[in-house]
């Protein structure tokens, strides 16, 4: 296998080759490490490359596989982690100056699970500082750069994860998502990003941004790979009280079951307002494609979604500010300017405001669950525009001027607030060559339906096969 072949290969394809001995984990790991050393200076996706450890793990994986103890589809697969997942003995910086030298003495639960599945860790990925930003251009370690056009943002906060997967600098990555931080960079970088249901994946050992909005999920080249990654990390954890004991299904098994008769709702309000024309055209085109594939696609009304952003912002700002209280007192000047201001804002939100937002959340979850009785999935754009330029603070979409960081999360935050699973997958490219993301949202703990529909769309389109030329 050469580098070009590997670039177009997914985990589900590579794992078969590794299992059958057609290629070794070591060969693949060396190819990617070499690619990182040549290409990542243009993209800045890695904060730490664990070169020696990766080679050691790959050799170990090859030995184990040869001895007949194959652990499953992630065995010997080189992956990387957003730099807020605790990794024992490896720096975990959260993209910040404050934690620039922080070395945890334990692994996050999801890291332990990936190791148990035989994955090879390539390193830790750049991110918007402390995950508090949607652009990915505010890190102590410098801005991440979009592989489709390096003058553009990657989206955030899991920007490094989006870039590394899109540019072939790892086979898959983990991200975290408190307002869209997996789905936004997935959309802007042209890959798949899955935010599972709140409680589906443990957050133990993951640096919090906002306890009641934080989710952990995979970022991959294909929907099937997202299913494989989710399989490895999902499930209850005694160390995370918010994790759920609801049984984890076999996600890959039902991926090809088809979508005939599936009911897909396109929201009339909010999600198709103030949108770039090309984004709207491609997302509506995807809705048509679902009809062709046998789904029933129709318009639905969800007027209260207009409340969601303000309520989610109230919770996010309050919880983030609470977590950072001590650092804000002692080291305010060490934060990136945009992050510091956002954290300071949270200090002035009253407890009554926070509780009103949490009570409204109960109401809206209940109303949304009722609405979901008439459809199986919601379909919407992930982001209203394609990737803006680095440093651009205001954009115009559909005749409306808006701050970039607000625009990025306009369609994603709602599903952190509700806790429903949501995936972003590529659904086209603008005339500029930049990718466009489609978002599918399902019922709580029904990732199977989300993945099945996304996979069916992917199997009948070629958008996910396109790779940036770097």
């Amino acid at each position: 296998m050469n580098e070009k072949q590997l670039y177009s290969t997914t985990i589900s394809e590579l794992s078969v080759q590794i299992r059958q001995g057609e290629v070794t984990s070591l060969e693949v790991t060396e190819l990617i490490l070499d690619r990182i050393s040549r290409i990542d200076r243009k993209l800045n996706s890695y904060i730490t490359v664990t070169h020696e450890e990766a080679l050691r793990s790959a050799k170990q994986a090859d030995r184990t596989i040869r001895s007949g103890k194959y652990l499953g589809p992630l065995h010997g697969i080189p992956i990387a982690l957003k730099d807020l997942f605790s990794t024992r003995g490896i720096k975990t910086t959260c993209g910040s100056k404050i934690l620039a030298d922080h070395v945890p003495n334990r692994d996050a639960t999801v890291v332990s699970k990936l190791k148990k599945a035989g994955a090879v860790l390539l390193g830790k990925l750049n991110m918007h500082e402390f995950a508090y930003g949607t652009t990915g251009d505010s890190s102590y370690f410098g801005s991440t750069r979009n592989p489709w056009d390096t003058s553009r943002i990657t989206g955030g906060s899991s920007g490094g994860s989006g870039v590394a997967v899109a540019a072939g600098l790892c086979m898959a990555a983990l991200g975290s998502d408190s307002g869209g931080s997996i789905r936004i960079p997935a959309a802007l970088c042209g890959i798949v990003g899955l935010k599972p249901t709140y409680g589906r994946v443990s957050r133990y050992g993951v640096s919090p941004l906002s306890w009641s909005l934080d989710h952990v999920g995979p970022m991959t080249k294909s929907v099937r790979d997202a299913a494989l990654m989710l399989q490895a990390i999902a499930g209850p954890d005694v160390n995370d009280a918010s994790s759920s004991e609801i049984a984890v299904p076999d996600y890959a098994k039902k991926l090809s079951r088809g979508i005939k008769g599936m009911r897909i709702g396109c929201p009339k309000e909010h999600f198709f307002e103030a949108l770039d024309d090309e984004v709207e055209t491609h997302v509506r085109g995807a809705a048509d494609q679902f009809s062709v594939l046998g789904a029933e696609v129709f318009e639905v009304s969800a007027p209260k979604f207009r409340f969601l952003r303000a309520a989610a912002s109230t919770i996010l700002a309050s919880e983030a500010s609470s977590y950072h209280e001590q650092y804000l007192r002692a080291r305010a000047a060490d934060y990136q300017e945009d992050v510091r201001k956002r954290l300071q804002t949270g200090r002035y939100i009253l407890a009554s405001h926070y509780l009103r937002a949490q009570r409204l959340r109960s109401l809206l979850i209940q109303e949304t669950l009722v609405a979901f009785k008439s459809f199986d999935l919601l379909l919407a754009p992930t982001v209203p525009v394609t990737a803006p330029r680095i440093g651009e603070s205001v954009i115009e979409a559909g005749g409306k001027k808006e701050r970039v960081r607000g625009a990025m999360a306009r369609f994603t935050t709602a599903f952190n607030y509700l806790g429903f699973p949501a995936i972003s997958l590529p659904c086209g490219y603008a005339s500029s060559g930049l990718p466009i993301g489609l978002q599918l949202v399902g019922r709580p703990f029904d990732e199977e339906t989300v993945l099945t529909a996304a996979n069916m769309y992917e199997e009948n389109t070629a958008w996910h096969k396109k790779r940036p030329e770097i």
């Binding site: 918010s242 309520a311 912002s313 109960s362 509700l418």
Partner: protein, 64 residues
């Protein structure tokens, strides 16, 4: 609900012994007012029957 001003925020910060630089205060006030403005949009929603979402935010909420 009144708009928050940069001066007010700086006075509160001073009382709490936390630094809020003059250059940051204007923007923090603007950010805060945007959040508060959003909160006003649903201040008339009837939430009497609803407790705050807690452990599993997706669970159907029991009415009192």
């Amino acid at each position: 609900m009144k708009e928050a001003s940069a001066d007010t925020l700086r006075r509160i910060a001073e009382m709490e012994g936390v630094a809020l630089a003059e250059k940051d205060a204007e923007e923090v006030a603007s950010e805060l007012n945007a959040v508060l403005h959003g909160l006003r949009e649903f201040e008339n929603e009837d939430l009497q029957d609803f407790e705050p979402a807690t452990k599993f935010v997706w669970e159907p909420v029991k009415r009192k």
